[in-house]
Subunit: 146 residues, 2 copies
């Protein structure tokens, strides 16, 4: 039985998906993934680095970038970009949009009914075949929400 403290956070997902791609489960990858699952505030690579360092003081920023890229490749995490700001990372795999609060800089997940994504794709003229749609709202969130 595994003894890693945070194992409960990713019961089978991480090791499984990594193995599926022929990749190894490393302490760095586990920890980076844990950090994303634990505080789902769309952190940047730098922020992930800061949260990870106390646990694994020897980790390098390059490794954090590598791990994040790996997690994205394995479909465990999504990279989110907002107007040339640093890339943010999101472990929410459901199809959803993002709301960028102009006042606080915070990013919120917005769940949308799948039918809406379908309707959008249906609007594409013939000849356009989309395999992904990204939707980003920009504005102000009146109260402090999650």
């Amino acid at each position: 039985m595994p003894t890693h403290a945070n194992n409960a956070l990713h019961p089978t997902g991480l090791a499984q998906k990594l193995a599926d791609s022929g990749l190894r489960t490393t302490p760095q990858r586990e920890l980076v993934y844990d950090v994303l699952l634990t505080k789902r505030d769309h952190p940047t690579a730098d922020e992930v680095f800061a949260r990870v360092k106390p646990e694994l003081p020897g980790i390098s920023l390059a490794t954090v970038y590598n791990c994040l890229e790996t997690l994205v490749q394995c479909d465990l995490v999504r990279a989110v970009n907002f107007e040339r700001g640093p890339t943010r990372y999101c472990p929410n795999l459901r199809p959803h949009a993002h709301f960028h609060d102009e006042a606080t800089g915070q990013t919120h997940d917005i769940d949308l009914p799948p039918v809406l994504f379908a309707k959008l794709k249906a609007e594409l003229p013939a000849g356009f075949d989309a395999n992904a749609v990204e939707i980003t709202f920009r504005g102000k969130a009146k109260t402090s929400l999650d």
Copy 2:
């Protein structure tokens, strides 16, 4: 009567909107705007620079960035970002989405019925007040389209 060669391209828009913001009409700003209107392929700042230089050999890249920023501020042009790539510029002011062709890297405008934008905003939970929605499709355009 004005004698500027490209004046037909921006009959009143540019000078007017600049004046509205208390800004001057300069040869650099006119030319950058002309370039955007003439070839609407969502060029980057570097590409705009390349197209502008033959007309105005002394222009600097910094100025191109400045002009583009000014045009965006005046609501004459929209800045478009796609996953940390360089910012692209688009003089299409109608509300529309973008389709990013993964094969060619080209960006296409996709006009969407305004009601769809409204429907999207209607999905936002209470407390979220969006003043803009950005929609980006990613995929392949089967044939070569505009």
